[in-house]
C-alpha cells in the first residue's frame, strides 16, 4: 500500500511535467486525457479506505538526511485519506474543467504543469510524516499557487494578487518552519507519527510552548485565510476559475485546517488552544459572511463565504470536543463538494456570458440546464437543505455548539447568524443567476462543453448521496478522520440524517426561515457601497500595503547606501565589516603568534613577498589604468610563486590561470572604460589606506590563529591525506576533496558560479542606453 501511495502522488507530478510537452504535440485534448491521472490516484486512495478505517495507517519511508532527523516518510491515516480523496477527486474534475475553460489558450500546457504540481504538492502535504517534508510541500503549494493566481500575468491585478498570496502564505510558512524546528528540539523527533504517539501534553509542558504555538498558528492562519490574514483570499480570485475552484475552496486554503487538525493532539491540551483558536475562527466566520454580503461579483461572494467556512472549521477545531471534531470533518467534506461545484458553475457563467455580477444575471436556467442543475444542488447543500450533506454537517455544527462550554450562548448566536447569511448567499449565487427572467449579458449564453459541467454535476450528486446516506460518509471518511485528530483509534462517527426533534433541528428550521428573509435584503446590502469602502480603508489589507511599501522603501534606501554601483565602495564596505566582525572575535594572544611548526623563511620566499609588496604599492600609485593592471598582475603571479614554494601546485596553477583570464577580460573591457581623469582626494586616500591596512592585519592574524587552532583532535588535513587514496582512489588530495570528500560543497559552488554568470550576462545585456531588441 505504501508504494501505491507514493506512486499515486509521483504520477500526478509526472503527469504535470509531461503536460507542456504533450500539449505541444497533441493539442488541447491532453487536458481531458491527463484528468485520468488524478482519477487513477483517487481510485488508489479509495482502495486504502478499508485498511485505514480499520485503524492501520498506510506508511512508506526512505532515508534522506538521517543525521538531521529528516526522512522522506509518508503516512496516511483517516485524516490524510479524507484530504487525499477530496484533493484527487475534485482535482480530476478541475483538470477536465480547465481543459474546457482554457480551450484554445496556448498556455494550457504550462497551466496544467502548475496545476498538477500544485495537486501533487497538496497530496504530499497531507500525507507527510516528517514535519520538514510537510514544510517543503507546504511552501511548494504556496509557490505553485503564486504561478496559478498570476496565470494571467499581463494583468497588473493578477500579479499583485499572486504576490500578495505568496508573501502572506509563504511568510506564514516560514514562521511555521521555525515552530517545527522548535518542536523537533523539544521533543527530539520530527516525525508526526512519533509525535502523535507521545503522551498527550508532552509538548505543552515545554517552556517554549507558547512560542511554538504562536508560530504554528501563524502558518495555519495565513494559509487558511483567518482574520486578520483573510484579505489575500478574495484577491486571489484574479486567477482563472478552475484555480479558484480548486485552490481557494477545496484544497490549499484547507492546508491550514489540516495542520491544526494534524497537530491537534499535541497542541490542544494547552488552555491556549481553545482560548485563541476558537475566537479567531468565530471572528473570521462572521467577518467572512458579512463581507460576502456586500460583494457584487459571484466569485468574490464565494471567496468570502470560503473565508467564513474556514473560520467555522477553525472554530470547531478550537472547541475541540469529540462532537466538534466530528462536525468539523463533516463540514469540511460538505464544503469541498458544494464549493468546488459552485465555483466551477460561476466560472462557467463568466465564461459563457461575460459577466459575474449577480444583479445583471438571471434566467440562465434554460440556456445552461446542466450547469444550473449543478449549481442548484450545490446551493441547496450550502444552504443546508435536508437530504443534502450540507444539512447533515450543519446539524452537527449546531449540536457541537450547543454541546460546547462557550461563553454563554455567544457561540450558538454567532453560528446561527453565519448560517443564516450562508442561506441568503447560497440563493444569491445558486438561484438568482439561473431563475427569473433572462437578462442581457455581454455574450449570448449557451451551455458549456461537457468537460465544464460534468464535474460540478457529479459533485452535486455526491452531495445528495452523502446527504441521503450520511452513515456512508461517517463510517468511511468522517469517522476515521475524526479518530485521527482525536488520537483515539476507537472513536467512531455515525452520521445520521434524522435525530428526532432536537434543539439543533429547531435552529436549522430557524436558519432557513431567517436566511430566506435575508435574501430579499441582499440587493440593498450590495448597493451599500459606503460601509464596505470604509471597511476596506481600515482593513488589514492596508496594513499589508503599508508594510510592503515600508519594506521596499528600506530595501531601496539600503541598496542606494551600501550598493551604489561603485566597486570601490563595495570593497570598502565588505572590508570594513569583515574587519569589525572578525577583529572582535580574535583572541588577544593572537597578537603574540607562535611560529613553531611553521616552515622557515627562504630567500626566494622573502624576495617574492617583497616583489608583491612593491607591486601592490605601485598599483595604488599608478596614474594609468594599464600600469595598475600590470602591477596587479605581478601581485597575482607573485602569489602563485608563493603557492609553488609552499607545495600547493594546484593552487598555483589555478592562480596563474585566473590571472591570465582576468587579463583577457580586462583587455576586452579596456576600451569601454573611461580614462582616469579624476583621482580621489587626499583624505579619502588616507581613509582607504587605513581600512586596507587594518583589514590586511586582521586577515594575517586570523591565518596565524587558525594555524594554531587545534580542536582537540588531529587536524582534518591528516585524515584527508591518509584516506584520499584509500577511500577515494586519488593521490591528489586537493582534487579528492573537491570531487569526493566535499563534493556537495563543490556542487553548490558551481551552481552559485552559474547563477553569478547569469547575473553578469543580464547586467551586460540590459545596460541602460542599449537599444531595445539588441542581443
Amino acid at each position: 500500500m505504501g508504494t501505491i501511495l507514493i506512486s499515486a502522488i509521483a504520477s500526478v507530478f509526472l503527469a504535470g511535467f509531461l503536460a507542456p510537452w504533450l500539449h505541444r504535440i497533441a493539442g488541447p485534448r491532453v487536458g481531458v486525457l491527463l484528468g485520468f491521472v488524478p482519477l487513477a490516484a483517487f481510485v488508489a486512495f479509495a482502495l486504502m479506505l478499508p485498511q485505514v478505517a480499520a485503524g492501520t495507517p498506510v506508511q512508506a519511508s526512505w532515508e534522506w538526511a538521517p543525521s538531521l532527523g529528516i526522512e522522506l516518510s509518508f503516512f496516511a491515516d483517516g485524516l490524510s485519506l479524507l484530504f487525499l480523496l477530496i484533493i484527487s477527486g475534485v482535482g480530476t474534475f478541475i483538470a477536465w474543467y480547465a481543459a474546457g475553460y482554457l480551450h484554445g489558450d496556448p498556455g494550457l500546457g504550462r497551466f496544467t504543469l502548475y496545476l498538477f504540481s500544485f495537486m501533487g504538492a497538496m497530496l504530499g502535504l497531507v500525507c507527510s510524516d516528517n514535519l520538514i517534508l510537510l514544510f517543503i510541500f507546504w511552501e511548494l503549494t504556496s509557490i505553485t499557487s503564486y504561478l496559478l493566481i498570476g496565470y494571467y500575468c499581463r494583468k497588473e491585478a493578477s500579479r499583485r494578487a499572486a504576490l500578495q498570496a505568496l508573501l502572506v502564505t509563504g511568510g506564514g510558512g516560514l514562521a511555521m518552519l521555525a515552530g517545527f524546528i522548535l518542536i523537533g528540539r523539544e521533543t527530539g523527533t520530527l516525525e508526526i507519527s512519533s509525535l502523535l504517539a507521545m503522551q498527550p501534553g508532552a509538548l505543552v509542558e515545554s517552556t517554549v510552548f507558547p512560542i511554538i504555538f504562536t508560530l504554528i498558528l501563524l502558518g495555519a492562519f495565513t494559509k487558511s485565510a483567518q482574520f486578520p490574514f483573510h484579505f489575500w483570499l478574495p484577491n486571489a480570485m484574479e486567477a482563472p476559475a478552475p484555480v479558484s475552484a480548486f485552490l481557494h475552496s477545496a484544497t490549499m486554503v484547507k492546508a491550514g485546517i489540516f495542520l491544526l487538525a494534524r497537530l491537534h493532539p499535541g497542541l490542544s491540551p494547552s488552555p491556549l488552544w481553545t482560548a485563541v483558536v476558537a475566537p479567531v475562527g468565530a471572528a473570521t466566520m462572521i467577518i467572512g459572511v458579512f463581507l460576502a454580503l456586500g460583494q457584487k461579483d459571484l466569485k468574490r461572494i464565494l471567496a468570502y463565504t470560503t473565508v467564513a467556512v474556514l473560520g467555522t472549521l477553525t472554530m470547531l477545531l478550537g472547541i475541540g470536543t469529540p462532537l466538534a471534531i466530528k462536525a468539523c470533518m463533516a463540514y469540511l467534506l460538505a464544503h469541498a463538494l458544494y464549493k468546488a461545484a459552485l465555483f466551477m458553475a460561476s466560472g462557467t457563467i463568466d465564461h459563457e456570458t461575460g459577466s459575474r455580477d449577480p444583479d445583471h444575471l438571471g434566467g440562465l436556467r434554460s440556456a445552461m440546464p446542466f450547469t444550473a442543475t449543478a449549481a442548484f444542488l450545490g446551493g441547496l447543500s450550502m444552504a443546508g437543505i435536508p437530504f443534502l450533506i450540507g444539512f447533515v454537517s450543519k446539524e452537527y455544527f449546531y449540536k457541537a455548539l450547543l454541546d460546547a462550554d462557550g461563553p454563554g450562548v455567544l457561540w450558538e448566536f454567532l453560528g446561527v447568524s453565519a448560517s443564516v447569511a450562508m442561506v441568503a448567499l447560497a440563493a444569491t449565487v445558486a438561484i438568482k443567476p439561473y431563475w427569473g427572467s433572462l437578462k442581457p449579458t455581454p455574450k449570448t449564453p449557451h451551455e458549456a462543453p461537457w468537460t465544464m459541467w460534468l464535474g460540478p454535476l457529479l459533485l452535486g450528486v455526491a452531495a445528495i448521496k452523502f446527504g441521503l446516506f450520511p452513515g456512508l460518509a461517517g463510517e468511511r471518511l468522517v469517522g476515521p478522520a475524526a479518530a485521527a485528530i482525536l488520537a483515539d483509534p476507537g472513536f467512531s462517527a455515525d452520521l445520521k440524517l434524522w435525530h428526532g426533534l432536537t434543539p439543533a433541528l429547531g435552529l436549522s428550521v430557524l436558519t432557513l426561515a431567517l436566511g430566506g428573509g435575508l435574501y430579499f435584503l441582499t440587493g440593498k446590502l450590495r448597493s451599500a457601497r459606503g460601509l464596505y469602502s470604509f471597511l476596506a480603508k481600515i482593513g488589514p489589507e492596508r496594513w499589508y500595503d503599508a508594510g510592503l511599501a515600508g519594506l521596499l522603501g528600506f530595501a531601496k534606501w539600503q541598496t542606494r547606501f551600501l550598493q551604489n554601483g561603485y566597486l570601490r565602495n563595495y570593497v570598502l564596505v565588505v572590508g570594513a565589516f569583515t574587519t569589525l566582525l572578525v577583529g572582535r572575535l580574535l583572541p588577544l594572544d593572537a597578537l603574540r603568534p607562535d611560529f613553531t611548526g611553521m616552515a622557515g623563511l627562504s630567500v626566494l620566499g622573502v624576495t617574492t613577498c617583497g616583489l608583491i609588496s612593491v607591486a601592490a604599492i605601485l598599483a595604488c600609485m599608478a596614474t594609468s589604468r594599464f600600469a595598475a593592471i600590470l602591477a596587479l598582475g605581478v601581485v597575482g603571479l607573485g602569489i602563485a610563486v608563493l603557492y609553488f614554494l609552499y607545495s600547493a601546485p594546484d593552487l598555483a596553477m589555478t592562480q596563474i590561470l585566473v590571472e591570465t583570464l582576468t587579463l583577457v577580460l580586462f583587455v576586452l573591457a579596456f576600451r569601454s572604460l573611461p580614462l582616469l581623469k579624476e583621482f580621489s582626494r587626499r583624505s579619502i586616500r588616507i581613509r582607504d589606506a587605513i581600512v586596507s591596512a587594518v583589514f590586511g592585519s586582521v586577515m594575517c592574524l586570523l591565518v596565524l590563529v587558525a594555524f594554531q587552532f587545534q580542536p582537540g583532535e588531529a587536524p582534518i588535513s591528516g585524515f584527508m591525506s591518509e584516506n584520499s587514496l584509500l577511500l577515494a582512489n586519488g593521490r591528489n588530495v586537493v582534487n579528492v576533496i573537491l570531487v569526493d570528500f566535499r563534493a556537495l560543497d563543490t556542487l553548490g559552488e558551481i551552481s552559485v558560479l552559474a547563477i553569478a554568470a547569469l547575473g553578469v550576462l543580464s547586467m551586460l545585456k540590459t545596460r541602460p542606453g542599449k537599444e531595445k531588441g539588441e542581443r
Binding site: 577580460l665 576586452l668 591528489n732 582534487n735 570531487v739 563534493a743 556542487l747 558551481i750 558560479l753 554568470a757
Partner: protein, 138 residues
C-alpha cells in the same frame, strides 16, 4: 585585433590548449590539475580565439551556446551524484571501476563530477568573455 602573428599562433595553440585542458582534467585525481583548472584552460583557448578572430568565430568553435553548456555541466555533476543513490549509498558517494585503463586511469563517478565542473567553468568563462567581446564589437 589584426595581428598576423597573434592569429597564426592562435591557430596552432588553440587545439593544444584544448588537448592540455582534457589532460589536466584526466590527471587531476592523482596529480595537479582537475576540472576547475582544466575548464579555465579550455576557456582560455576560446577566449584567445575570440580575441584573434572575433566572438563569432569563437562561438562557432564552441558549437553550443555557453548557457546550454553551463546547464549541461550542472546536470552532469548532479547526475554523477545520483549514481550513489542508485547504489543505495548517500548522494555523491563515489563509485569506482577498479581496473585502470591506459592513459585515463581508473574510471569513477567523481571523474564524471569533475567533468561537470570542467564544462560549467568553461561555459561560464566563455559566456562572460563572449558577452564582453560582443559589447566591444558593438
Amino acid at each position: 585585433m589584426n595581428s598576423v602573428i597573434f592569429s597564426t599562433t592562435n591557430r596552432l595553440i588553440a587545439g593544444l590548449l584544448l588537448l592540455f585542458s582534457v589532460f589536466l582534467l584526466l590527471r587531476g585525481h592523482n596529480l595537479s590539475g582537475g576540472g576547475f583548472a582544466g575548464g579555465l584552460v579550455a576557456a582560455s583557448a576560446f577566449a584567445l580565439q575570440s580575441l584573434a578572430f572575433g566572438v563569432g568565430a569563437a562561438r562557432r568553435m564552441l558549437i553550443f551556446d555557453p548557457r546550454s553548456i553551463i546547464a549541461a555541466g550542472l546536470v552532469v555533476a548532479f547526475v554523477s551524484g545520483l549514481a550513489g543513490n542508485l547504489a543505495g549509498k548517500p548522494f555523491l558517494t563515489g563509485l569506482w571501476d577498479k581496473t585502470p585503463l591506459p592513459l585515463i586511469g581508473k574510471l569513477g563517478t567523481p571523474l564524471l563530477f569533475d567533468f561537470g565542473v570542467y564544462i560549467v567553468v568553461t561555459g561560464i568563462v566563455c559566456m562572460i568573455v563572449f558577452s564582453l567581446g560582443e559589447e566591444e564589437e558593438g
